[in-house]
């Protein structure tokens, strides 16, 4: 125990002496939250609109104005030529074409129904979907005001009036959705990357060998490596949560204790992974490369950016053994829905199981070196 105390003192001393690291641990969560939660969003703020108005009436101009006034679209250009519009779409000057056919006003007045066509650049499917949704909303609302039906894009089939409400995140605030995920990513980087690099550095310098030829037990060495990083990662989470609350006003509907408890369990998995990576490589550069590769796969398949349920079956299977996915799930559930430990028991157990397996494998591997 005395040796462990000295090892811990040494670790904290080294961490405190590394000014770059120290600054990064404080600045990184703030910066990442500010950048990513603002930049990484599915919201479409200024889709470029091309209006092909072949009706030239008050009502057709009204539609064009409504689209521009909603704040979601900026007018890229307008002309009566479908060919010119298509060219604009191709050259990316426009991302959406609204085609208003001749006799648009006449049809509305006479039949209380008319058609417009939406042409979208669907290179990026998610953006196109969101853009279409916005346009449909505006067109439907305009039709309602006129007491008419406007068939947009789909000329066949009945017109459905779908009303949806988003619970837990009522105005679909993307920040509320992104911030818990970004916090997870921060904790993962500290836990896994710093852990792997820290241990490999001892290998590079030769102190790992030097420590091996001492009566120091393997478990004391590992504990002294993991505990400080565990503390730092939780400290990062604290800063991150503060920023989320104070700067972004992200809700914390559930228990803060539960968030920290889940993070503590998750960190066993993240740190164990770091330890395991450190046994496979011999330089910090290699450690960084391997860690980034693994974290990248984990994050992309975690549901942080794209929902797990829209992945193919095999990927969904893989996601089940992805600790990042479970932790993001828990964070979102607790922060946005106010879930209690009972509701997040399943992912929590998955995390605990993953952590136990990875850590024991890593400890065994570490001893084999």
């Amino acid at each position: 125990m005395r040796a462990l105390r000295f090892l811990l003192v040494k670790e904290f001393l080294q961490i405190a002496r590394d000014k770059v690291m120290l600054r990064m641990t404080i600045i990184a969560p703030i910066l990442q939250l500010l950048l990513l939660s603002n930049a990484a969003t599915f919201e479409v703020k200024s889709a470029r609109l091309y209006v092909v108005d072949r009706d030239h009436t008050t009502i057709s101009r009204g539609l064009s104005q409504r689209l521009q006034a909603a704040g979601r679209f900026v007018l890229a250009d307008a002309s009566p030529s479908a060919a010119l519009a298509e060219e604009a779409l191709l050259s990316r000057r426009a991302s959406l074409i609204v085609n208003i056919p001749p006799d648009f006003e006449r049809d509305i007045v006479r039949d209380h129904a008319a058609r417009v066509q939406l042409v979208l650049n669907a290179e990026d499917g998610a953006t196109a979907g969101v853009t279409e949704g916005y346009a449909m909303q505006i067109i439907t609302r305009y039709a309602g005001e006129l007491g008419a039906t406007i068939h947009a894009s789909s000329p066949t089939g009945p017109v459905l009036d779908v009303r949806s409400r988003n619970w837990y995140n009522a105005d679909l605030r993307y920040r509320d959705y992104m911030v818990p995920g970004i916090l997870v990513q921060l904790v993962t980087v500290v836990g896994t990357l710093l852990c792997a690099m820290n241990i490999v550095r001892e290998k590079e310098v030769g102190t790992l060998d030097q420590l091996t030829i001492t009566p120091l037990s393997r478990s004391a060495f590992i504990a002294a490596k993991l505990i400080p990083l565990w503390v730092i990662a939780l400290f990062e989470l604290t800063i991150g949560l503060l920023v989320a609350r104070l700067v972004f006003g992200v809700p914390m509907r559930g228990s803060l204790v539960l968030v920290f408890f889940a993070a503590s369990v998750y960190l066993v998995a993240a740190l164990g992974l770091g330890l395991w990576i450190s046994t496979l490589v011999s330089t910090q550069q290699q450690a960084m490369f391997v860690t980034f590769f693994i974290i990248m796969v984990y994050l992309l398949m975690s549901g942080l950016f794209t929902p797990v349920r829209s992945m193919p079956d095999w990927a969904q299977w893989l996601a089940e053994i992805n600790p990042v996915k479970h932790f993001i799930g828990i964070m979102r559930a607790v922060m946005l829905k106010g879930a209690t430990i009972v509701e997040v028991m399943k992912p929590l157990l998955a995390l605990a199981a993953f952590g136990t397996v990875v850590l024991s494998l890593a400890v065994r591997q570490h001893g084999r070196q």
Partner: protein
């Protein structure tokens, strides 16, 4: 008293490379034992096996009576090891490094101070300096202090003076002499022949094999043939010329001169010197100075290496 190190037929392979090939030797209590050989001879591999960092592929070794494979825990607390490359924490200060290694061995700097004092006293003015800001000689003293702070019963030093200036090297060996006088046995490796002379016994190691184990003087005496030293301006030209001489047994470059032995068994050193002078004169090396000399360890080493290769 039994030997502090006993090595029997030790073998270690890395893939197709045989780093150690049936190495056997013993180190007696209180002895400074030198492993002398060029880079890549297998010295570090031997150290790593004896300190339980590597497992051997064959043979046996005991350190302080403990088997290096089975009883490695018993060995680790009782030996001090200073590896070839600086292996302390660069971001910790001199005092912090020392205190840390004392703590790891469950002791304190105070308890071990008597043993490290001669070395550490010179470091004390810099006790708050970071280890990476020390000079090569200072680093080496700190590493030795850290290897001694738990009062080991046996000291392993793997090329302790590599990359250290000549004055610091001499000082370092003076420290080792003091440690030896306190009864501490030391296994030390070195590529330098002048350091080999300061050991009680040495083992010449080359390509993973021991070429001979004896006192430095006795190793030198193994070289029985008359030897001449040749100095002159065009050493390389003379080397090439002598290789074509019909009576050459060996000719090697030694710093600023050549060492030559003759293949005729019954000639004296003076006779050989005269013969070589006239040969070189005939080849146009008029400034060649040839004189008979006493062979050193290095000559023994070269001839042992040559007979090994033959």
């Amino acid at each position: 008293m039994t030997n502090v190190i006993e090595v029997h037929e030790l073998t270690k392979r890395f893939g197709s490379v045989t780093a150690l090939d049936g190495v056997s030797f013993d180190v007696a209590p209180g002895e400074v034992f030198g492993l002398v050989g060029p880079d890549g001879a297998g010295k570090t591999t031997l150290f790593r096996i004896l300190t339980s960092l590597l497992l051997p592929d064959g043979g046996q070794a005991t350190v302080l009576g403990c088997n290096v494979v089975k009883d490695h825990w018993a060995i680790r607390a009782r030996v001090g090891y200073m590896p070839g490359s600086f292996s302390l924490y660069p971001d910790l200060s001199v005092a912090e490094n020392l205190e840390f290694f004392a703590a790891v061995f469950g002791t304190t700097v105070k308890e071990g101070y008597e043993l490290i004092a001669p070395v550490y006293r010179q470091l004390e003015p810099f006790r708050d300096r970071r280890a990476d800001a020390l000079s090569g000689g200072m680093k080496q003293k700190l590493a030795l202090s850290c290897a001694l702070v738990h009062r080991p019963e046996l000291l392993f030093l793997d090329e302790p003076t590599t990359g250290v200036d000549a004055v610091s090297r001499r000082e370092f060996w003076d420290h080792l002499a003091v440690l030896k006088s306190s009864g501490l046995p030391i296994l030390v490796s070195t590529p330098y022949m002048d350091e080999a002379l300061r050991c009680d016994r040495i083992a010449l190691i080359h390509d993973g094999r021991l070429l001979g184990v004896d006192t430095p003087a006795a190793i030198g005496k193994r070289f029985t043939r008359p030897l001449v030293r040749i100095a002159g301006s065009d050493r390389y030209g003379m080397l090439c010329a002598l290789r074509e001489h019909e009576h050459t047994a060996s000719v090697n470059l030694f710093g600023d001169s050549l060492h030559y032995t003759d293949s005729r068994p019954d000639l004296s050193g003076d006779e050989i010197a005269r013969d070589v002078t006239s040969f070189l004169d005939g080849r146009g090396f008029s400034d060649a100075r040839v004189e008979p000399i006493e062979p050193g360890i290095e000559d023994s080493f070269m001839s042992l290496m040559a007979s090994e290769a033959a």
